[in-house]
Amino acid sequence: MKQRKATREQLKQHNRQLVLNAIYSGLADNRAALAAETGLAKPTVSDLVSELIDEGLLVEVGRGEAAKSGGKRPRLLEFVPDARHVIGVSVTEHQMEQCIQAVLANLDGRVLAEHEYFYPVEEPETILDNLISVINGLVAQLDAPLLCVGLGLPGKLKVNSAVLTDTLVAQYDVPVYVENNTELAATALYAFGQDDECLSDSDSDGKAHGLVTVLINHHVEIGYILGDGVYHNGGSIGELEIVPGQTLESQLGWAAVKKRALALRERYGSTLPEENLLYLHVRRAMTYGDEAALILHQELVDVLSPMLAWIIGLLRPQQISLAGGIVDLGAELLHAVEQKTRHLIDSEGIVFSLAEDDRGSGNLSARGAVAEAVKQELGLW
């Protein structure tokens, strides 16, 4: 394929992002330092900074120290995280319900408000209307101009994402970025880190620079972000067969797990409830030595471990996180899976963790949608 030169507009956009990112990440705090850090000519930096100040994204906050060689004291620059707001949305599917969760965040990723709507699974055509009604819920709460919208969709959702994107762009007149939910969950962990001792091997900024998230709810999905954010993707892996004749979804999907739990309950006279069963019940029953719960737990470990071993063998991430409802099985599951996986494959230096939603900061995918949208628009993170 013939390679094309970047257009003048693309170059300017790239340079803008260099300047903004240098200020945002603290690598430079004045025009001269920006020129040195980005390699751009001083007049170019000056023009870009003026433009960013006019747009409210940067502000001058007084003067710094003069250089040792003398000269004028530089005017210090600061990034303004509340100059724009971003909406991140995640659509998830459960057996009976479709769930749309959205967060309104500033450019730092600080969540200002959340909006959620759960409704019975109907025809896919209703998704668009419901998406707009959820985004509208946060548009009503905007304190600053809307920069863009990030949208996370589940791997198995049968919907034309191009139509969704075009409609949302037309509706809100801002860029809209669509990715896979599980990939966005990985993006959220990459962009914001996780306040978790499991990340002790990550860099000092709290980020793991090669990260895989495996989301297990009704479906089984994988999202990854590798090479310091350069490579990222995600999608469903539920149809894969690690044991011939048995898909991952038929072993790890919630419908299958629940069915198996009830069968074990019947056989062993377990304390697991017959109705409204949760992973939390399994975890609690295990602590009482409930045989059905212990067998179910071991079966899950036996499926999860070879799956993670394959992922590690293929991608060699720095961190691998389990996410979704299965996380309610807690540290017991994580330790058992980690131990067995390390037995199956050399996992030296790889951190195993649970990616729990921080209740109150939106779900991981919606926050990841914010991170991805801001990265695309401003080059941050």
């Binding site: 909006h115 009604s133 959820v134 009503a140 939390l280 609690r284 807690g330």
Partner: protein
């Protein structure tokens, strides 16, 4: 524009702050607010004394209006926002505090920081969404922390009801608890008073925490999760004004809460 607010008792602590927040936003945009407080019109035959034809939109605080009346308003096209309540069948826009987050923070405080195991939960009104969600979240956290079966008594978000329930419980033989989580802070304050009268040391013998925060909680030194009630009103008014401007909204706007550690 003319905005109506329907509440059960405008002088109540919660209602007063919600109305103040909502009024602040309305006034900022130059709109008028009319409050219909049901405690001031006990003989009223209609669910609301507001002239619905004369208002541009209505904010409804908790479950003061019957669900079928709300349904009629919603289907009739009146812009409508609910505060701390959700309609059981229609996606009428609402604004809620993050009940699950609040209970999670209070439970982490009780179990991990205070090392409490045998808990008493004083529930809110189980016909209100806040009451249902806080109870459900509490039950989930009990399982998550692997605690013994807790005690649960009714409080209905009314300190007097909580008082009676707790007195009744304390007269029962063999009742043991070392931590109390009340579904609102006024019920927690009442609990602290009762325990003090019985010479039970708080928090040395029993920790007491409550959902929500206000001057009464500060005065009592209660550990709470602070739900900014005025912010609830502000967000609800923005949601309503958005609808009046033509935004179609479904579902709930959810606000975060923060743990306020004090002496209990």
């Amino acid at each position: 524009m003319h905005i109506g607010i329907v509440t059960n008792e405008q002088s109540g602590v919660f209602q007063r702050d919600v109305i103040a927040g909502a009024r602040e936003v309305a006034v900022h945009y130059g709109h008028e607010v009319e409050v219909d407080s049901r405690d001031e019109a006990i003989d009223r035959q209609q669910p609301t004394s507001l002239d619905l034809a004369a208002v541009d939109g209505v904010l409804v605080i908790t479950n003061v209006l019957p669900d079928d009346f709300l349904e009629g308003l919603y289907l009739g096209g009146t812009p409508l926002s609910l505060i701390s309540h959700r309609h059981p069948t229609h996606p009428i826009p609402s604004v809620m505090h993050n009940n699950a987050q609040g209970i999670w923070k209070l439970m982490d405080y009780l179990v991990q920081r205070q090392r409490r195991q045998r808990l008493l939960f004083i529930s809110g009104n189980r016909e209100q969404r806040d009451g249902i969600e806080r109870l459900t979240a509490f039950q989930r956290e009990v399982i998550r922390h692997d605690l013994p079966e807790p005690l649960i008594i009714p409080g209905d978000f009314e300190p007097t009801v909580a008082h009676e329930s707790l007195q009744r419980l304390l007269q029962t033989d063999g009742v043991i608890f070392d931590g109390v989580l009340a579904a609102d802070y006024l019920m927690a304050r009442e609990t602290k008073k009762i325990l003090a009268a019985l010479d039970v040391a708080v928090p040395e013998e029993v920790s007491v925490v409550g959902f929500g925060d206000g001057p009464e909680a500060v005065d009592a030194g209660l550990t709470t999760v602070a739900a900014d009630v005025q912010e609830l009103g502000r967000r609800a008014m923005r949601q309503l004004l958005g609808q009046i401007d033509g935004l179609v909204i479904r579902g709930a706007t959810v606000l975060s809460v923060a743990l306020m550690v004090r002496q209990t």
